[in-house]
Structures are given as structure tokens and as C-alpha cells.
């Protein structure tokens, strides 16, 4: 049974006088593994922030697990952009992962035995258990990435939302990373936001193409010709392992 977990209707968003997103309609289901792609400044990060209830849409409606984003986001495991985090911050891997449990703690915000067990389990899954006392500045890019994913998983999400997750890892690690996400996508919905369209399309199930408005949402195996004619989205799409250079800039 497919359930709708995100419903976006006629969504627009203005930053001051500047329209960033226009009339977006989108439905995402609980078995989806979606790649949201678009160039820098296309508004995809804004869309993500609206889904997470960090920004309020100027027009339109967003439902997350049939609730408002602020209520529904407790089912979302969020993996923010790596570059937004201060690596010098004096915090250990374990403390970062445990902080994913903070919404489940008591009045004094103490972590229970259950919280610690969950954190330990996700650190094991992500292969960072032996680094648990390491300060995050001493991790490699890939290890830090896995720490942030472990933190998101420790919230026990039904939806994993990743913002530019492959920006700082090497190509080999990237392939492993997508394989891992593929396995994970059997257990939860996954949304991945990226401007890098190289490897993503051979791994995700569907693609959303955003540049201010939604240009395309559907199977990635659509033929490049049709894709170009219909949607003119400025992306580079790889289908069936054969790289097709798709499409020039769409016209505004």
C-alpha cells in the first residue's frame, strides 16, 4: 500500500521581493527514492527547508505525513549540507549521533539507555563505532558524512532527507554510498537533493527537476529527446549506464 508522505500544492516562496519557487505541485510516497536535482540557485534547498518547516511558504500548502511540516518532521531524518557545519566544534562522534535522540528525551534532556543503544546501533551500521570518542574535526570527509547520516538515522525516521550528500566524498566512496542508500531505501523513503547529476540518476528511482518551478517528476528512464522537448531541464542524465548529455538551459 503506497502512502503519500509529502503533498505539495501550488507552492510558491518569495525571499523579500525575489520569487524563488513558483507554483510547485509534488507528491512523494513512502516507497520513493527521489533525486531532486537542479542547478545552484534553483531553489531546491529552499524547497527542502520548506518541507522541513524551517521556512513558511508564501503561497500554497505543504503536508508532511499528513501533518504540518513542523509536526510531521519528527518522522524525518535530516542530513544537512556538510559545508554548513563547523568541524572545529568540540563534540565527539557519539555526542553528534546521540543528539539525533534529543527530541525523544525527558524534561532534563538526558539520554536514556534506549537512546544510547539506538545510537550505538546506528554507529555500528554506519561503521563508525570505533570512532565514537573522536572529535569530528579529526574525521575524514567520508567518516564525517557517515556520522551525519548516523545522527539522522538515530531519529528512527520514516523519511531520510539528504542535502548535497556527495559533495565531499571521492568517487569510489560515492558508489558505495549510493549502494548503501539503495539498501536503506527498502526500509524508508529517501529524498536526495543535489546539483551534481552525474552518479545520482543511475541509483534513484525517480527524479525531480527543479529550477524555480518543477520541470519534471517521474521515471529517470525517459528518453533524452522527449525529456528535452517536454521539460528542457538543464541536467546531465545518465540512464542505463550510458551517459547521455541531455539538454541545454531551459528558457525562462
Amino acid at each position: 500500500m503506497k502512502n503519500e508522505i509529502i503533498t505539495i500544492e501550488n507552492l510558491s516562496f518569495d525571499y523579500g521581493d525575489h520569487r524563488v519557487l513558483e507554483n510547485i505541485n509534488l507528491k512523494i510516497h513512502d516507497d520513493d527514492f527521489v533525486g531532486i536535482i537542479g542547478p545552484n540557485g534553483s531553489g531546491k534547498s529552499t524547497l527542502l527547508k520548506i518541507i522541513l518547516g524551517l521556512l513558511t511558504p508564501t503561497e500554497g500548502r505543504v503536508l508532511l505525513f499528513n501533518k504540518t511540516p513542523k509536526e510531521g518532521r519528527r518522522y524525518v531524518g535530516y542530513v544537512p549540507q556538510y559545508a554548513h557545519i563547523d568541524r572545529n566544534f568540540p563534540i565527539s562522534v557519539e555526542q553528534v549521533v546521540l543528539s539525533g535522540r534529543i527530541g525523544h528525551t525527558d524534561f532534563l534532556r538526558r539520554y536514556s539507555k534506549i537512546d544510547r543503544d539506538i545510537a550505538e546501533n546506528v554507529m555500528k551500521i554506519m561503521g563508525i563505532l570505533d570512532l565514537k570518542n573522536t572529535q569530528i574535526g579529526k574525521l575524514s570527509g567520508g567518516q564525517f558524512q557517515r556520522t551525519l547520516i548516523a545522527r539522522a538515522l538515530s531519529t528512527e525516521p520514516k523519511l531520510l532527507l539528504l542535502d548535497e550528500p556527495t559533495a565531499n566524498i571521492d568517487p569510489q566512496a560515492e558508489t558505495n554510498f549510493y549502494d548503501f542508500l539503495q539498501k536503506l531505501s527498502e526500509k524508508m523513503a529517501i529524498i536526495l537533493v543535489t546539483h551534481d547529476t552525474g552518479a545520482i540518476s543511475s541509483h534513484v528511482k525517480t527524479i525531480c527537476c527543479i529550477n524555480k518551478t518543477l520541470y519534471y517528476h517521474g521515471e529517470k528512464s525517459i528518453s533524452p529527446d522527449l525529456f528535452e522537448k517536454l521539460y528542457g531541464c538543464p541536467v546531465e542524465l545518465i540512464g542505463h549506464g550510458i551517459p547521455h548529455r541531455v539538454l541545454k538551459e531551459h528558457e525562462d
Binding site: 519528527r74 568540540p90 528525551t105
Partner: protein, 266 residues
């Protein structure tokens, strides 16, 4: 012996109390990069001092209320509007000071010694000042340690904390208010203008040695106490103003330790 004098005992007690507040709150100021906003809060507190002198109340008391309110307003504005945060801080910095000076010049009667509020004079610390400092320290310790995990998660990653439904705006305002209270603790020790030094230097020194927040807090409290005692002692020996001496001791120690550390690394 100088230790027998009440003013000297008060000075030492005030120095230690200030070091505790700075050790805790200064650690957050440094790791969460709140240095500039803390500068704004500390200078704006001068408005509260001016108000107190004008109204005839203990200026520390009015400074508490004034600076907590002004830092809360700043917190709300900086999070809720698209205004540039540093511009707002700069505005508050200047307006607070100007208001303080304005009120002081409106105050009838005797000419007030501005410099003891601006640069501190630890030898004029009274019993009442000490009680106020103990009260403020208790608030700071209780709030930070009762929900330590929440402050840690918030300071590390505000956005993620918000997604996990941590009340980030509330916590931000509380943290800024605690900075305001720490500034009030510091007024009589080093004064408004030099407060920034003690909010940053002990924690910055501590973070050279460890990278766990809890240990930074503990270590910077101890380092702060050493800076204070050394500074107070030297100001007596050299017959120099206490605030400036404490700050110079802190600053040179920090730079010295930083230099030694980087030499050893090579």
C-alpha cells in the same frame, strides 16, 4: 598583610565569581562564535547602568534587566527578519552606550566616575555586588547544566536541532540572556569595554588543550581564576588599574600559550 583588608577579600571573591561565569558562558561564546554579538550585548549593558544611576538604583540591578531585554530583542530580530545580523548588533552596541551616557549626563548632582563602569575597578566591589554576582552565577550554572545536552545540540547544529523540535529561538534568547548576565558579573571586575576579553580569552586558552565542551568549560574556569588572581596581584604590585592588568595578563598568556603550542607542533 593585604589579605586582611575587606576590599582585597572582596576583590578576590569577585574575581573568582567572574571567572566561573566566564568559564561557562565564555565557552559557548567561543565555540558558537558569538563573540561579536556578545560585544554588542556588553556595550548595550551600559545603557542599563546609566539608567540605574539616573533613577538612583544599584546600576548592576538595572543593567541586568536592561541587558537581558536588549539581548532578547536582538535575538528575536536577528532570527526573524532578513536584516543583516551584524548591522543590528552594531546598532545596538552604539545605541546602548549612547543611551547610558545620555542618562548619566541627565543625572543631577555629583559627577559620576564613568571609567569604573567602562574599565572596572575591582577594589570598589561591595558586599551587595558580591551577592548579586553569586545570584547570577547560580542562575547561569543551573540553566546551562540542567539541560546541557540541549545547549550542546543547539550550539553544534541549530538547523538540525530545529528539525528535531528543539525550541531553538527560545534557547538562543536564553543563551544571549546568559551572556548579558555574565557581562553584568564582569562590570565591576573589568568593566563593560574589557568584558569581551574575559568572555573569550579563558575559553580560547582552554580550547587549545582539549576538544570536549565539558572539559573546555572546566578548564577555562580554572584558567580564568588563574588569570584573575595573577591580574589582581600584579595590579597591586605595579599599582595599575585592575581591569586593564587582568586583561593584559589574560591576553599575553593566551598568545604565549598559543605560540608555544604551535612551536611544539612544528
Amino acid at each position: 598583610m593585604i589579605f586582611q583588608y575587606a576590599f582585597f577579600q572582596n576583590a578576590v571573591i569577585a574575581g573568582i565569581l567572574a571567572a566561573i561565569a566566564c568559564g561557562i558562558i565564555g565557552s559557548y561564546v567561543v565555540v558558537k562564535r558569538l563573540v561579536f554579538i556578545s560585544g554588542g550585548i556588553s556595550h548595550a549593558a551600559f545603557g542599563g547602568i546609566g539608567l540605574g544611576l539616573f533613577l538612583g538604583y544599584n546600576p548592576l540591578f538595572t543593567a541586568i534587566i536592561f541587558s537581558v531585554i536588549s539581548s532578547s530583542i536582538l535575538g528575536v530580530i536577528s532570527k526573524k527578519t532578513y536584516q543583516r545580523e551584524d548591522t543590528l548588533i552594531g546598532a545596538m552596541w552604539a545605541i546602548g552606550m549612547a543611551f547610558g551616557i545620555f542618562m548619566i549626563y541627565m543625572t543631577p548632582g555629583y559627577i559620576i566616575d564613568l571609567s569604573s563602569y567602562l574599565f572596572g575597578n575591582i577594589l570598589t566591589v561591595s558586599r551587595i555586588d558580591i551577592y548579586i554576582m553569586i545570584f547570577l552565577n547560580t542562575i547561569i550554572v543551573l540553566i546551562i547544566f540542567i539541560r546541557y545536552n540541549e545547549f550542546l545540540a543547539f550550539s553544534f547544529d541549530e538547523e538540525f536541532s530545529e528539525v528535531t523540535n528543539v525550541p531553538v529561538l527560545k534557547i538562543y534568547i536564553i543563551l544571549l540572556s546568559l551572556v548579558a548576565l555574565t557581562v553584568v558579573v564582569l562590570v565591576s571586575v573589568v568593566g563593560i569595554i574589557l568584558a569581551m576579553a574575559l568572555l573569550t580569552l579563558p575559553a580560547a586558552t582552554a580550547s587549545i588543550f582539549t576538544n570536549s565542551l565539558k572539559r573546555i568549560i572546566a578548564l577555562s574556569t580554572l584558567i580564568g581564576i588563574s588569570y584573575m588572581l595573577l591580574g589582581i596581584g600584579m595590579s597591586f604590585l605595579l599599582n595599575q588599574p585592575s581591569g586593564a592588568t587582568i586583561v593584559l595578563v589574560s591576553g599575553t598568556s593566551y598568545l604565549g600559550i598559543l605560540g608555544i603550542k604551535s612551536l611544539i607542533k612544528k
